[in-house]
Symmetry: C2
Subunit: 284 residues, 2 copies
């Protein structure tokens, strides 16, 4: 498995390994503009999406499946810089207990808001404060599933490149566009692009299922229990409510976002079908 | 705060405290038929639902909010057996870092399948293998939100009384009926009650949004990546697909269940409105 001229790294303290491990920390990750991704599923999704690999990390002792070896071979041939490491070193990088022996450093992909087009994809999502990285990953996974264009993060604390988020996104990470914006940048973008911003609120009068979501449309979703802030609410052209008949006062944020996304998706499918919808429905 | 005749327990090794802690273990919890619930939100939901408290656990040093003290007072007066414990002892029981100083032992509520009525509530859910306790809690929360009747667990490993599930359910735990059943018990129940069992599968031909969900209806949901087993699939009268246009091969199970539940909910709302729907929509 070892390619010629490749040196197997066996020390956890090797500078290259320390650099890789530093990417688990938000600050270091952001400073480098990089992220560490791990596992066959995620790497093959990254390949499909033509993500550029900054560094490939292989642990030949762990990478035993024929599929994994083939993927590693293909990535090596594409010219990615490769580090081969011992099983022990790989375990020091991996976040799961049973790692597959393949990881990669990839660039974080952020768009300036000026270049984000709310007409790209089914709709966009604007996210206020978030409670959990796992929830964000689930939102990314659902958004990719319905062909949403991307996410505007209004809260700087949210990070799609967090390891728990990446894990929960199940490889969907690379299928969306990501933008960071202040609320005033968001407001300027909204005016310029003419998108309709629909926010959800338990106290809204309109039922989410009874209003149209014309293109280009942005769903503004906020932290479940606190909801949207007054400033976020002020950016909404329309406020809708997802009705509930139980005694709870809110839905999980990822569930609320999923319900909203499928509403938009179903309305678009019922109207003029999108070209990619036809394609997928036909090939299913 | 200390009531007369109440002895403050200050040792983590007190037999009553050890018994409470044992409820964090599935085996002990099931043997006792009890569960430990914690926090003001959950306890007040339990009170609203008229759950019988086997034991109330209070840490006066931690229970400082007027609302919490009032709730404790009310529960004491209702005759619940009460243990008062020190801050340190409460921390040894609590699963969160910042506990509110109130917990309770409640009975697990299971119905025999023979007594479960699929006409109770919007619909029922039958769950195959589950990946995470948190997902189950989110499913319970969403199911309660749309007024579902309950959940039939086909996999004995699933446990609504797991602490992570309870936490993710955000108090909705007490709003549903719970049944454990083997697949053959489920099959007999289905025949006897005449309910329509609708399963989801990525390879199904019918679109979930294009089929009716007449009462009584049971949604059969299976573990996200593996899907329903052949035996579970054989119990379905209808298989539907939640369409996706991305490159992922599945949705998170809680999201898929949420999308299905809101589809049933929206169809029923569009037809003859349920009495409690009218009530809630009017009082919103």
């Amino acid at each position: 498995m070892l390619a010629r001229n490749t040196h197997l790294i066996t020390s956890r303290n090797h500078p290259s390994i320390r650099r890789l491990r530093s990417l688990h920390r938000r600050e270091d990750r952001d400073r480098a503009g990089l992220a560490l991704i791990e596992g066959l599923r995620l790497l093959s999704q990254a390949v499909e999406r033509r993500v550029r690999f900054e560094t490939l990390v292989l642990a030949p002792e762990l990478l035993t499946s024929p599929y994994g070896r083939k993927l590693a071979h293909r990535l090596r041939r594409s010219g990615a810089r490769c580090l081969e490491v011992s099983r022990d070193v790989f375990h020091s990088l991996a976040l799961c207990d049973d790692p597959q022996g393949i990881a990669a450093v990839v660039p974080q992909e952020w768009q300036p808001i000026q270049r984000a087009d709310p007409r790209d994809g089914l709709c966009w999502i604007a996210l206020g404060a978030l409670q959990s990285p796992g929830n964000l990953g689930t939102i990314i996974r659902t958004a990719e599933a319905v062909g949403a264009g991307g996410i505007v993060f209004l809260d700087p604390a949210a990070d799609p490149y967090d390891a728990s988020t990446i894990r929960a996104s199940m490889g969907a990470l690379f299928g969306l566009g990501y933008v960071r914006a202040t609320l005033s940048e968001f407001a300027a973008w909204k005016r310029r692009t003419g998108c309709l911003v629909v926010g959800t609120s338990p106290s809204a009068e309109e039922d989410y299922h009874a209003v149209p979501y014309p293109e280009p449309c942005v769903l503004m979703m906020g932290w479940e229990r606190r909801g949207l802030s007054p400033q976020e609410t002020a950016q909404c052209d329309r406020l809708v409510r997802i009705p509930m008949v139980g005694r709870g006062d809110s839905l999980n944020l990822a569930i609320a976002t999923g319900v909203m996304l499928y509403e938009v998706f179903n309305q678009r499918r019922a109207g003029a079908p999108l070209p990619n919808l036809n394609r997928v429905l036909a090939s299913d």
